[in-house]
Symmetry: C2
Subunit: 201 residues, 2 copies
Amino acid sequence: MKILPKLFLTGLAAAIPLAVAPRAAAPGNSPDYTADGQLRLPDNYREWVYLTTGFNMSYSPAMSQDHSMFDNVFVNPEAYAAFLKTGTWPDKTMLVLEVRGAESKGSINKAGHFQGSSVMGLEVHVKDAKRFEGGWAFFGFDDSKTAKMTPRTMACYSCHEQHAAVDTTFVQFYPTLLPLATAKQTLSKSYLKENGTENQK
Amino acid sequence: MKILPKLFLTGLAAAIPLAVAPRAAAPGNSPDYTADGQLRLPDNYREWVYLTTGFNMSYSPAMSQDHSMFDNVFVNPEAYAAFLKTGTWPDKTMLVLEVRGAESKGSINKAGHFQGSSVMGLEVHVKDAKRFEGGWAFFGFDDSKTAKMTPRTMACYSCHEQHAAVDTTFVQFYPTLLPLATAKQTLSKSYLKENGTENQK
């Protein structure tokens, strides 16, 4: 009978690695690169945490579109969990922007728009501090499962650095995260200045 | 030394309940009712699997709106996993429709709409075969954390029964699930008839 406590402890020891495994980043939820530095598309991003959707959003008043589009934003669950605690993004954050065509007439829908099955664009914003100047990089996917990094000279980098609410990301458009970043005082100085709420900082 | 295999087996036996625990419905991911039959709002639905977003959708051409709205749809992960395998919903499925106000001018956005922080409506569609006539029930939440069942006489039930693509749910508006249901031949007869694709069945 003396052996029972030992058996029990051994049982627990064997259980621990299995029980804690789900807390580590799940396979596919961390940035993964090819040998020549291209990012592999995280193929399970639709099962990540949803942040928001825009409809025909544009940062330029002159932009015209011949069709309507939705853009859905997802983030890997590990980064989302960290944001809830800290109000900002940890290293290895991946934000996926999925652009979908909008449809209007279909089934019983009579007005407004719903999302169609065609994905018209996919862009991933990755935080990988040791790898990228400024900590973050963009990758635009065409039909391929891998994408080259968008060059640092492109306007998306400077625009995000100048206008983004939190750590070069547009948290101002993520309705559940903006109140959190506001409460945790992680809003960027430039965003606070632009939005007239400098006294929050 | 003869005792080692026994220890190992005991270790495994103790590990199994912990290891398989994540596959069971997580707490809060199954319908939960008050003693008087009201549904409790699943407070973690924003971390469930996202299905789609509509913008100003309407099933009636005469409907007019004085403001624009987004509606986001989420499903509990266990039901989503089952749908991927079968093309239809298991018992205890919960679909959450979250209606959010749309904003247009804010930060650097110049055109189109983004989602605001105000939730203007929350509706849950629950499959609980033993509990509800027809298997499903709607619950509309106001500001409360619990909601009474929407009476069976309301038009939402007959509309969903007559027009929904899969099992009284509007899978025709869920862009990643419609191709799946089509491939698995789980589309309803009424939907196939209405959409002129009866030969698929």
